[in-house]
């Protein structure tokens, strides 16, 4: 063993402070790189959101030009989805899956590093497109043709081409990651860890990876056809020459709706880890939560055309997609009720991770319920493409995913870095974000009902339009301030080193990642206890207590 180590690490430069991160194939470092990079883009995408909210704060505002507004709207959406939510979850998965299943690393460490560096490259390509001829892409994050085609009056210049290139790089990154997660989860679980003893977060990553494999090729195909149209003169999506635009819509949303669940299933997993630990209880229905994850994943590939109710597919197809979309509410409801039941008769401890998890339940429920309006297709004919939809998906993606991953950050931060984030600042962060979020997005439901359509750079109405928009813009500032508090917290904890040192298991948690040191050593564990339940660490604590008495 010693001889082999010598051969693999013959020189010291790879252990340097910077080089160590550049050449790392350690899943923990890759996970942290993913999370750090995603957070940087979260700030960048958030600044774009603040620009939009400033432009929309009052009627007839001239803060942004109409050209740049369309670029900002496109880049905000693309950044938040492809560079923030999906990769930050990949980061958590990278850091946590091997630790949670008691493995030394991912199945393919080098492939894992490639996934990360492709993600970084894809993001850089996307953001460099601001400087390309014609500016960044400006056809919206779904880039419907013919607006995204290379016509002088549609999307000339190279912004759209960079967007496509970036999507290609990012899908490749995600596909490699997905394969890696699946192989790792299937083959490297600790002795005794059967499927029914696996942490629910790992269940979520299993389904997340499967969904990525199913959904991403449709997106790659769609943007490839678009690229061919733009560069070599095909006309897949140019109707005047026999192309079909609706085909693009189908391909895009066949990816686009599973993508929604790709962005929220791992967060469900995190919530299913956090709620029991801070309720001092087991999850209420382990199997119900695990199987509802699979049910959601399966159903999510059958609902895509609910994004296309105004395309004119006919009431037959619309009816099918209404029913399939409504059916998804059932497994989602099962999860919410199971989380609620988990807090029942618990010893609820309101540390910051728990606050974010409870906030997640409160907000995601509202986002799910507003989705039922959109599934009922005649109602969607009114609400589609209005600010109601903007409000709905921010309740799901920000109130849901972002609250969830912030909870995850507070929860696993001590494991990642060995120090606890400050609780007082954490609570300020939560409450300001909670209030700011509702201020920003609750009034947007009303704006949609008043007739405000999405992606407009300005409006002329005063009255309630102005009131709601102003409240929304002020709220976005409150949210931005809460993120600032988070960054200050990170600074104080890590850079100023004021954070309290965490032991192996500061929360008295249930799963194997808390068995090793904080932060864990390069290969995670010297040995792993034989797993006899879904809560191996609690079993261990009880055994130790029994031995002591």
């Amino acid at each position: 063993m010693a001889a082999r180590q010598e051969a693999v690490y013959p020189v010291g430069w790879k252990n340097g402070r910077v080089a160590g991160w550049l050449v790392t194939v350690d899943h923990k470092r890759i996970g942290i790189l993913y999370i750090g990079t995603s957070l940087a883009w979260f700030v960048a995408g958030g600044i774009l959101a603040l620009l939009m909210r400033s432009q929309l704060a009052t009627p007839n505002e001239n803060f942004l030009t109409k050209n740049s507004y369309n670029e900002v709207v496109t880049m905000h959406g693309t950044t938040m989805i492809f560079l923030v939510v999906v990769p930050i979850l990949a980061g958590f998965a990278n850091f946590l899956v091997p630790l949670m299943i008691g493995a030394k690393d991912m199945a393919f460490p080098r492939l894992n590093a490639l996934s990360y560096w492709l993600f970084l490259l894809g993001g850089i390509v996307l953001w460099l497109s601001w400087f390309s001829k014609g500016g960044a892409a400006h056809a919206g994050w779904w880039s419907y043709p013919t607006l995204s085609e290379n016509f002088p009056w549609a999307s000339p210049g190279h912004g759209q081409d960079y967007w496509i290139l970036s999507i290609h790089i990012l899908t490749l990154s995600s596909l490699l990651g997905a394969i890696n997660f699946l192989v790792t989860i299937h083959n490297m679980r600790a002795p005794g860890m059967t499927w029914m003893r696996m942490p629910l977060f790992v269940w979520a990553i299993e389904t997340y990876a499967i969904l990525l494999l199913v959904a991403l090729p449709a997106l790659s195909a769609a943007v490839t056809l678009l690229l061919l149209d733009r560069t070599v003169g095909t006309h897949f999506f140019i109707p005047s020459q026999g192309g079909n635009i609706v085909l693009y819509q189908h391909m895009f949303w066949f990816f686009g709706h599973p993508e929604v669940y790709i962005m929220v299933l791992p967060v469900f997993g995190m919530i299913s880890e956090i709620i029991p630990v801070f309720s001092r209880k087991p999850i209420f229905g382990y199997k119900a939560v695990a199987f509802s994850t699979i049910a959601i994943a399966f159903l999510s590939v059958l609902v895509w055309a609910h994004h296309m109710f105004t395309t004119g597919l006919g009431v037959g197809l619309d009816s099918f997609f209404m029913i399939s979309s409504m059916v998804i509410a059932v497994p989602t409801g099962i999860k919410i009720f199971n989380w609620l039941a988990t807090t029942w008769r618990g010893n609820l401890i309101f540390d910051t991770p728990m606050l974010f998890a409870l906030g997640f339940i409160a907000l995601f429920t509202l986002g799910g319920l507003s989705g039922i309006f959109l599934a009922a297709f005649p109602v969607d004919w009114q609400l589609n493409d209005s600010y109601y939809v903007v409000a709905h998906f921010h309740y799901v993606l920000f109130g849901g995913s972002a609250f969830g991953f912030f909870g995850g950050l507070y929860y696993w931060w001590p494991k990642m870095f060995g120090r606890l984030l400050d609780e007082r600042l954490g609570k300020w962060h939560f409450w300001l974000m909670f209030v700011g979020f509702n201020m920003t997005f609750l009034p947007q439901h009303m704006l949609g009902l008043l007739g405000m359509v999405r992606r407009i750079y300005t409006y002329h109405h005063g009255g309630l339009w102005e009131v709601y928009n102003l409240i929304s813009s002020v709220g976005s500032g409150v949210m931005a301030f809460s993120i600032l508090i988070f960054l200050i917290n990170v600074w104080q904890t890590q850079v100023a080193r004021k954070g309290v040192r965490a032991g192996n298991d500061p929360w008295l948690a249930d799963t194997l990642e808390w068995y090793t040191t904080s932060p864990p050593p390069p290969e995670n564990f010297d040995s792993v206890p034989y797993v006899t339940s879904a809560r191996p660490l609690r079993d261990l604590r009880r055994r130790l207590a029994d031995e002591a008495t």
Binding site: T343, F350, Q382
Partner: protein, 329 residues
């Protein structure tokens, strides 16, 4: 601090709920007042869904807040475990079946309302057929007698109006909230929708699908009026004012109300706007310039329409260079 948190959540939720209810009568959660049978039926369906959604929202959030208050730690140590209970088949069944029932009722209501939303009233033997064409960045309407108008659709109040919705450049989306739902105008495809304005008045809307730089300016109006006024409009007013409508609804968006320039270049002193043949080429083919591109805004315009535009421009907009320098802007 820990003790105060749950009550703060409660206060916040109550405040939010009260604000919502207070605002419900005026804007709030109420959709725009419907003025067409299909829009009314959609609003009915909306309130049914709202009722169930509000019920579930209140139920879940109340349980959440109640549990937060009731089972809060009260200073107990983290080492104290809650009741180690889990799993209850009957409960799991209840919260599976109960949402299924709610969703079934919602779906049933949708299917009950659907025929009257989707199809024109069968009593309407003679709907008025109008073609709606989405363009960067205006709506153009073709009436049964061949007349055209831009921006505002004129219809008789009370008549069933059947719309054929098309586009020849990018995807647009037709939406007048008071008169029913959206339908996309998709190049290469013909979509249909309809409405029946139940009283005279002007109903406003705008393009709902991102269609380019001036997406926000692509407004639409429907003027419902008496049958007599409608006939007068399509037989006399529309043909007489089409030149002016083209200018203010199409050209002025980019070139300014006086042709002084804006997003597009100043054209008030450009002689091309007085030459029908040259202007037709630009309108139908668009322009790919160094400073930007002009979409082929007039690719479905007739020679007569272009002649009318030129007449209007000559009379109202065109100012030869020597004069234009002072009064153009």
């Amino acid at each position: 601090m820990r003790r105060k948190l749950p009550s703060f959540v409660l206060v916040l939720l109550v405040a939010l709920a009260t604000a919502g209810v207070a605002a419900a009568g005026n804007g709030g959660f109420a959709p725009i007042a419907p003025h067409s049978p299909n829009a009314s039926r959609i609003t009915d369906a909306y309130w049914v869904v709202f009722g169930f959604a509000a019920f579930v929202a209140v139920l879940v959030e109340s349980i959440l807040v109640a549990f937060i208050i009731k089972y809060r730690s009260r200073g107990r140590s983290r080492a104290v475990e809650g009741a180690q209970v889990h799993g209850h088949t009957r409960l799991e069944l209840i919260w599976t079946v109960f949402p299924v029932l709610i969703l079934a009722v919602i779906a049933a209501v949708v299917f009950y309302e659907l025929p009257a939303i989707d199809r024109e009233p069968s009593a309407a033997t003679n709907p008025i057929h109008i073609t709606v064409e989405g363009h960067q960045y205006y709506w153009q309407f073709d009436y049964p007698n061949g007349a055209r108008s831009i921006g505002t659709l004129h219809v008789p109040a009370g008549a069933v109006v059947d719309l054929k919705v098309v586009s020849s450049d990018v995807i647009h989306s037709w939406w007048i909230a008071a008169l029913g739902g959206k339908i996309q105008a998709i190049p290469g495809r013909t979509n249909h929708t309809w409405f029946q304005a139940n009283q005279a008045g002007v109903y406003h809307g705008q393009c709902a699908e991102l269609c380019g730089v001036f997406h926000a300016s692509m407004l639409a109006g429907v003027q419902a009026q008496s049958l007599q006024a409608y006939h007068a409009y399509i037989s006399k007013t529309a043909p007489a004012t089409i030149g002016q409508q083209e200018w203010s609804g199409v050209c002025a968006t980019c070139h300014g109300n006086l042709g002084q320039g804006g997003y597009g270049p100043a054209i008030s002193n450009n002689t091309i706007i007085t030459q029908p043949a040259a202007l037709a080429g630009i309108l139908r083919e668009g322009v790919t310039g160094t400073a930007g591109a002009m979409p082929p805004v007039g690719n479905t315009w007739t020679d007569g329409q272009i002649a009318a535009l030129v007449r209007y421009l000559k009379k109202n907009i065109y100012k030869p260079a020597s004069l234009g320098a002072t009064s153009g802007g």
